[in-house]
Symmetry: C2
C-alpha cells in the first residue's frame, strides 16, 4: 500500500543544508494502523508530508498502491492526493472565510457529491466530532480544539484509503482526544490505513505498530522488532 | 496584580449568543504560578485573552496592577499589553516574513533596545529554547514544535510582569515540554506572574495553583480549596 524506499529529504536554507529525513525505508499494508513518535524536529511532519504527496523526497522512491508516485508530475500527484488521502495538518489549514460546516463539506463539493448527500454526511461528521452547535462558526470563532476537530472531520469525510494525522489531539483534552481517536480507529477497522504522528505516548500506544524517529531516521519500529 | 470581577464574555454569531465566560472572578498576586485546565471549548483561551488585554469582557471589571483596564481605550490597553504582558498564543502568530531570530527580537526592536543588547539577548533566548541552529529559518522552515518555542522565546524576551501561555507544550515531546516549562518557571521564581493554559495534567500539576474551567465558569480552584 505505502512503500517508501531509501527516502532522503534535504531542505536548503541559504547556504545551509538540513537533512530532515535520512535513509527512511518503510512499508505499510492496506489497513495498517501505525503511530510515529519522536522529539520535536525529528522529521515526523516531513515524513507524513511525503507520504501524503504534499512534498517530494530529494532521493528515494515512494510507491502508493503500486503507483510510482515519485515519477508523477504535480497535477497527477494532486489528483491522487485528493482522492486517496485524508490529511490532518499540525496547523489545521482551515479556510478562514468558510464556516466549520463549509470547511468540512469542501472535499465533497470538489468531488461533485450531490447537495443532499453532502448535507447529510456533514451533519453526521459534525455530530461525531461534537461540533453540531458550532457548524456556522468560522475558524476565528472557534476554540483551538474545535478547529482541530474541524480539520479531522474534513480529512475523513471522503473515506479516503489513507488517513494521515499530524498531532490530531495536540489541542484536545483527554476526553475529546480519545473520542477523536475512536473515530479514526473506527475508520481503520473498516479498512482505511491510519498513520498518526503524536507526542502523546497514550495516543501512540494505541497503534498496532509503533515507529520512533530521531534526527531524521527511523530509530525504532515495533513491527520489525 | 490581576483582579477579575464578575467577568462575562458573550460572542455573537449571527442570531446566536455564545456565553464563553460566565461569572468569572479571580485574583492573582504578583509572582503567582497558576494553571488553567478544562475541556476543549470551556473558555480557557477567552479568559487568557481578556487577562492579556487582547479582548474585552462584555461585563465585569479587570484591574491589572491597580489599573482599571476595562476603562482604558484601545491605545492605552495596547501600551500596557506591550510593556507588561508576554503572551504565548495557542496558534503562535509568528511573522511569516521574519526569521526565528527576528521574530524573537521584534519586541526588543519595538521597545528601542540597542542593537548590541538585542543581539545578545536573542542569542541567549535561542540557546535556552534549543533553537540556535534554526535562528535563520522562517516559520515555514520550522517544525511545529520549533515554531512553538519561537513563540515562547518572543513572549519572554522582554521580561514582562506577566506571562500568559496558551498550551505552550501542545506541539512538544515530553522532554522539550519540560525544558520549556523550566524556563517559564525560572522566570516565575524571579517574580514574574505565570498563568499556563494546558490540556496536559502533568504540566498542569506543576503549578502552585490549579484552576479548572467547565462551560465558561470556574469549576475548581485549588487556592480556594
Ligand atoms: N521547509 C523547510 N526548510 C528548512 N528546514 C525545514 C523545513 N521544514 C522542516 N525543516 C526542518 O526539518 C526538521 C524536521 O521538521 P519536521 O517538521 O518534520 O519535524 P517534526 O518531527 O514534525 O517536529 P515537531 O514535533 O516539532 O512537529 C526540523 O529541524 C525543521 O527545522
Ligand atoms: N470569536 C468568537 N466568536 C464566537 N464564538 C467564539 C469565539 N471565540 C471563541 N468562541 C467560542 O467560545 C467558546 C470558548 O472558546 P475558547 O477558545 O476560550 O475555548 P478553550 O477552552 O480555549 O478551548 P480549547 O481547549 O479547544 O483551546 C468555544 O465554544 C468557542 O466556540
Ligand atoms: Mg511536526
Ligand atoms: Mg484554547
Amino acid at each position: 500500500m505505502i512503500d517508501l524506499q531509501a527516502i532522503e529529504r534535504v531542505f536548503e536554507v541559504g547556504e545551509e543544508q538540513v537533512h530532515a529525513l535520512h535513509r527512511v525505508s518503510l512499508r505499510f499494508a492496506a489497513g495498517a494502523y501505525a503511530s510515529i513518535m519522536g522529539p520535536s524536529g525529528s522529521g515526523k511532519s516531513t515524513l507524513l508530508n511525503i507520504i501524503g504527496l504534499l512534498d517530494r523526497p530529494t532521493e528515494g522512491r515512494y510507491r502508493l498502491d503500486q503507483v510510482a508516485t515519485t515519477e508523477l508530475d504535480d497535477t497527477e500527484q494532486a489528483r491522487i492526493r485528493r482522492h486517496q488521502i485524508g490529511f490532518v495538518f499540525q496547523s489545521f489549514h482551515l479556510v478562514p472565510r468558510l464556516t466549520a460546516a463549509q470547511n468540512i463539506e469542501l472535499p465533497l463539493v470538489l468531488a461533485a457529491v450531490a447537495p443532499a448527500e453532502r448535507k447529510q454526511r456533514v451533519a453526521a461528521a459534525l455530530q461525531d466530532m461534537d461540533l453540531a452547535d458550532r457548524a456556522d462558526h468560522r475558524p476565528d470563532q472557534l476554540s483551538g480544539g474545535q478547529r482541530q476537530r474541524v480539520a479531522i472531520a474534513r480529512a475523513t469525510i471522503m473515506r479516503p484509503q489513507v488517513i494521515l494525522a499530524d498531532e490530531p489531539t495536540g489541542n484536545l483534552d483527554h476526553s475529546s482526544g480519545s473520542s477523536v481517536l475512536e473515530t479514526l480507529e473506527t475508520l481503520n477497522r473498516q479498512g482505511i490505513s491510519l498513520i498518526v504522528v503524536t507526542h502523546d505516548p497514550e495516543i501512540g500506544q494505541r497503534a498496532r505498530r509503533r515507529i520512533r524517529m530521531v534526527d531524521g531516521s527511523i530509530a525504532e519500529d515495533s513491527e520489525s522488532a
